[in-house]
Symmetry: C2
Subunit: 297 residues, 2 copies
């Protein structure tokens, strides 16, 4: 069993709140901090204690988990004034489970190393249902020894976790994940608009193809949303927008040409301009609708 | 049980040969015809009789199945001189399981109706393994009564079959299937080139993402081929090329804008120009390699 038993958890959003609850259920002692009071109150009723700043949340903890919207949030909460690194003790582990640019993960890792604090970037895939069920796929970057110490934590929130490489590798892997997911959603959307324009029933097409090579977790989870036109989030387009932007930035830094990802980015920018940023990312499929004045549903 | 017991089967290629064998195993009487002698001999040893032309293959049969490379082949074999419609009797059913343009299916259907012959377009997904295992996903277009009469045949070669609409709907659905498959392959390729350029091990990335929302039948079946660089066909790029070309043609006929499919078509044209047309379609992933002077494997 790991030596990491007391956890400071920062960021109780759609993902963070159920993850924190699963950690409590698994026997970890939690101290929590979040910008909004509601989820903090809910977690305190669930058995957590409360901290009024990231620094206080990190104090005397074995591990600190952050689950935040984007890289600048992680930087501020971990490296900023009253941040995690002002409270954390030596040999603790900071696990940033936010989905952010790999370069920022590497910067945070470097500051943690300067303080003899372990660091992992450990973004997840699986969305709110995965967070609630403790069934997230966790993509980890960092050192093997720190990863090994953290396995008990990952067991409590995930169904799989893989050390993909050194600092930043978790978030690089997450970018790959998000490229594949967004492109698949867009392709399903384009295909369903084509069949709808040909006079077919998209539901029948969905039934016919889901068992073949076109079958995917995206098709199973998102196809019915496209067919019904119900895009209640879930994971919002504006957050996928950030991931695709980070993919293009990382590609640019590494000198990698990403033509498909680039087209997906343009589609998402258009959808945000259409006022769809708050919809579930399955609505990326509606780009094909918008350029064809058509509806899948 | 269906009244369709005696089947003329035309086209014993990679897909047709195992499908014909599965029909014999299921108790159907088969008469076969194919351009190459080897598979015909093999099927005759397996219990089939032999016909020297499509017309002869169709004579006195309850159903005629064609499994051919492209639309012009289907037109020639069914409508041409010495073709199926010269031999077929009234009330028989012609089932074209080739993947062709929906417009050609509709043209063939019309000629069949003129002769009081039933017609279904019934392309498949699942590749050679699906054909061997009798586990194809079959996408069908045509009339309900003819579809119902043909269920016993589909049971023998497929694990699922759905009537997607009227004549051509099977092939329209197949186009949707092929758009999704090719785009997903290309997206996985682009994502894996990105992580490779970032210094990660694509195998670890594959392990980390396959259980999440990026997971798919393409990732399971084709990811290992990309990572090992083994693109033995399987389903060749030049055949996927034809399907994507038919998708763009159908989109053009219907006035549907298909930007992702269009980009995929350009990638495939480039791969054919690189001499990769005979590779498995998983090698669509190598487009990202070719533009980045990189290797996933």
């Amino acid at each position: 069993m790991s030596d990491l038993k007391q956890i400071g958890f920062i960021g109780l959003g759609i993902m963070g709140k159920p993850m924190a609850k699963n950690l409590i259920k698994a026997g970890f002692k939690l101290k929590v901090h979040s910008r909004s009071c509601g989820p903090v109150k809910e977690l305190v009723e669930f058995g957590a204690t409360k901290a009024s700043s990231p620094a206080e949340c990190a104090t005397n903890m074995d591990a600190i988990i952050t689950m935040l919207p984007d890289g600048p949030d992680s930087e501020l909460v971990i490296l900023g004034q009253n941040g995690v690194l002002e409270g954390v003790r030596e040999d603790a582990v900071v696990i940033d489970m936010s989905s952010i640019a790999p370069g920022i993960s590497q910067k945070i890792a470097s500051s943690c190393e300067d303080k003899q604090v372990g660091f992992l970037d450990a973004p997840v895939s699986g969305g709110e249902p995965g967070a609630i069920d403790g069934a997230l796929a966790i993509m980890v970057g960092g050192k093997q020894a720190v990863f090994d110490r953290s396995n008990g934590i990952f067991d409590a929130v995930g169904s799989s976790y893989v050390l993909c490489g050194d600092y930043g590798a978790g978030n690089t892997t997450k970018l790959a994940n998000q490229i594949i997911v967004a492109t698949n959603i867009a392709a399903v959307g384009e295909a369903l608009v084509l069949v709808k324009k040909a006079g077919l029933d998209p539901q029948k097409v969905y039934d016919a193809i889901k068992g073949g090579l076109a079958g995917s977790n995206v098709l199973n989870a998102k196809g019915p949303m496209m067919i019904s036109g119900n895009f209640m989030p879930g994971f919002r387009i504006k957050l996928h927008h950030k991931d695709i932007r980070n993919s293009m930035l990382t590609g640019s830094e590494l000198g990698v040409s990403l033509p498909l990802t680039s087209l997906i980015q343009q589609m998402i920018v258009s959808l945000v301009n259409q006022g769809k940023g708050e919809l579930d990312h399955s609505a990326i499929a509606t780009f094909a609708e918008s350029i064809n004045d058509s509806k899948i549903s």
